[in-house]
Symmetry: C2
Subunit: 241 residues, 2 copies
């Protein structure tokens, strides 16, 4: 991590290597039962639940940045371990969840806040979460597949739109202060974090014009994700499959 961490903040980045997914644990030691887990993966729920318990925390929310096509969300399995936990996802994701999140809504994590920022384009229902401290200073943003480190999510299925993604990143993420840390849902090259300032300058796709971005995205020719036919139907139903 690269942001100034207030002393009561608990922050952990966790990695699931099959789908190269990052899961993030965020909590406030002064309100230990309000921990939030962003993008849990079904296969690492045991690991994550053990860690949460070892840290003396209780889970308030299991958040998904979007309806994933490459892995099954862990929110359903987590509910069995943390009965008061609620799953949450954007109201535009087309998925079932205990809480459907609206743009600009805030989620309290003890004294900290996660501000929901709709960032559609990879899917219609992609949402980023901006972590702010007690004084409302932005610290870090969890960008899902909207903004990856020196990359971005694909826009060729699941309602993907390069124009929409470009607009989302430029208006809702690149408008943040340069020193805000960036924590994506995936990385495939061993990076673990970046900053808004760095991505504005060095992101090889999103630092370009909207037209150039569209050309790049239209010519990626990526294979279909291995798990899409299993993962999307399951994730629409909170990971139940």
């Amino acid at each position: 991590m690269t942001f100034p961490t207030p002393s009561s903040l608990v922050f952990r980045q966790l990695f699931e290597s099959e789908s190269s997914t990052f899961t993030y644990l965020i909590a406030d030691r002064t309100h230990p039962n309000e921990a939030v887990l962003i993008d849990p993966v079904d296969s690492t729920v045991e690991r994550d639940a053990k860690l949460i318990k070892e840290l003396g925390l209780g889970l308030k929310f299991g958040l998904n940045t979007h309806c994933h096509a490459d892995h099954i969300t862990g929110t359903n399995l987590l509910r069995a371990k943390f009965p008061s936990m609620k799953s949450a996802i954007s109201e535009n994701a087309g998925s079932k969840a205990d809480v459907l999140l609206k743009d600009n809504q805030t989620i309290e994590v003890g004294q900290f806040v996660l501000e929901c920022r709709a960032t559609p384009g990879h899917t219609d229902g992609c949402m980023s979460f901006l972590l702010k401290d007690q004084q409302q200073n932005p610290l870090a943003v969890f960008t899902g597949d909207a903004l990856l480190i020196r990359g971005c999510g694909r826009t060729d299925f699941q309602q993907g739109s390069a124009a929409s993604l470009y607009n989302s990143v430029h208006t809702r993420l690149f408008s943040l202060p340069d020193n805000v840390s960036v924590y994506p849902a995936h990385d495939y090259r061993g990076f673990t974090s970046s900053t808004i300032g760095e991505e504005k300058v060095h992101n090889p796709r999103l630092s370009k014009s909207a037209d150039e971005f569209k050309t790049i995205m239209d010519n990626l020719n990526l294979p279909k994700p291995k798990l899409i036919d299993v993962a999307v139907p399951a994730n629409i139903n909170c990971g139940v499959h």
Copy 2:
């Protein structure tokens, strides 16, 4: 990361997935040419050098926590990209390097300090690096293979000694404040950081007595690392092979 990061600190954790090795970049924005890279891997030198240049930094030291048996150090390749960089390793590692580090020696990273703490046991020449801020507050410790997250390095080759490792961890690492972040050289389960307080309580090996620890370590029956016959001879010579 989970420690309070001073505003001028640059900190990046990088991952090499073949050997599950973490590389750490540490710098002070106010002294950009004094960046340090801990445990670089040969196969990710291009990635790391590009990042260092994008961040406007210059490399002062390439540090190795020990003579690795599972990957080839990147220090030799990095010297070609950063001609003023010096490689460094413990004087007890039995390896060539530009600087041979002594126990308790300090390395300045701009206004920050890395304090060398000899932590033998996995190998004779294992050294941990304690990052301190301008006020000498300990922030994080880079533990190499001495202390892993809920684990530790093996002690069955390369001068390994369970008794020595137990003593190192308990006297030189567990003596640090509980809130100091722990950043190891490897993780195989998707964890990225821990804290001293957590490992003292939850490390399944090192939270035990010295006798129980030795019994655990004597019965691991691990296979020989795939790369040991290539990596150790190369790493003794700063990664030249």
